[in-house]
Symmetry: C2
């Protein structure tokens, strides 16, 4: 069946603290839709935005700033959002965030916010996804899944792709282990990161459309689930590249 | 605009050496479509399939096989497809293929072929994509782009996603550098790996459908280009994780 990736247009930027669900309710959801929203509007809704001029940089942030010619206040915010530095080379800072995601700059982002401000990742993106899913169910009666996406780089390959950092109502990974191929052979380990693939599909529409921080993926069949984006995090001892 | 991911159903497996384009021509292509086909059917068309019983394992393949309890003939094929071993730990072999892709087992795959056989990646997947694009243009008059996809794992995150190994007629990466955000600020480096995102979107349909090794992505606006999947390979000296 043909899957559709449908843009949701918001007429204006969300205000800090404004309820996103109210802006989305003009959308005609259908049962079984997957709503994908970018981290940025969730962070704004939740007030996860920092005025850099109020930040006092630590000695470490000052040191990195002078070494890399980067703003020590921005660096301080990045360090505060990190559990661990994974790599710090060539002016690039890859960290493990407090939620366990490995990404550049701890997801701290200067784009699409006023000058001098940055957004942080949502405190608990799974919870943000769950809240939005439950509010849409309550207000529209439609049972959907919600993914929160962010744009991550990756080793080995150039360019960024959108990945899921918050998941509610759908499995993050679709497991084919034990299933058979068309020749009746057991498939090797095949666990598809469908939550990431859905976010990447969504980005194709978002990236091409101004004022489109959300999409609907329609006609993707899935079984409702209580899974979390944490299922997408490779445990350190199973990772050959940390 | 809504993007569609349309499955292409093939009634039967492609025979070794059979022309894929003839099986695809029942499909009604439109100008500007993106055709995504899996590596597996391209490899079959091109005869990139090996009977393991004919393979004589090297001393190294025998050694790895006894260490990892793996088939030395399969290991020999993996080594022959590799330019360099990137990691070999816990029974997992990550290599750089002769075309420069970093992936497990050099893309050598036992699934969806008869017992005792494996497929290799196409010799030159960009060329395979280009040939298919030109044949479709010649036979149907439609100007499309073609991507060849394969399923890759990745560091940091569990689960696999589909990526592009062959590209023809579209840019692999969409570059936003120098563009401004909704607040008029210059965007940070933002290079989206759209060829990989399109392959991931396509996998959502392929994975859910039996006998669906190809899809059409419709309504994704792009400028025709002579780019290659090689643009997606991060040079070793820009990679913090090799």
């Amino acid at each position: 069946m043909t899957i559709e990736i449908i843009p949701i247009h918001l007429k204006r930027e969300i205000e800090i603290g404004e309820k996103l669900v109210d802006l989305l309710l003009k959308t005609k959801f259908q049962d079984g839709d997957i709503l994908v929203v970018t981290q940025k509007i969730i962070s704004k809704q939740e007030g996860r935005i920092v005025d850099l001029s109020t930040v006092i940089p630590s000695i470490l942030a000052q040191g990195i700033g002078s070494e890399y010619k980067k703003d020590p206040q921005l660096l301080e915010v990045i360090l505060s959002e990190s559990k661990r530095i994974v790599r710090m080379e060539n002016g690039i800072i890859i960290v493990e965030t407090k939620n366990g995601f490995i990404c550049a700059n701890a997801g701290v982002d200067e784009s699409n916010v006023p000058n001098g401000f940055v957004t942080l990742l949502p405190l608990d993106p799974d919870k943000s996804a769950q809240n939005l899913r439950e509010e849409i169910l309550k207000k529209s009666g439609k049972s959907i899944a919600v993914l929160i996406s962010d744009t991550f780089g990756r080793p080995f390959r150039l360019g960024q792709t959108d990945c899921a950092i918050g998941v509610s109502g759908i499995d993050s990974i679709l497991n084919y282990v034990g299933k058979k191929d068309t020749f009746g052979k057991l498939l090797r380990v095949t666990e598809m990161a469908i939550a990431d693939e859905i976010c990447s599909a969504s980005e194709l529409v978002m990236g091409k459309t101004t004022g489109c921080p959300a999409t609907i993926i329609r006609n993707y069949k899935f079984t409702p689930s209580n899974d979390s984006a944490k299922s997408l995090i490779r445990p350190k001892d199973e990772d050959l590249f940390r």
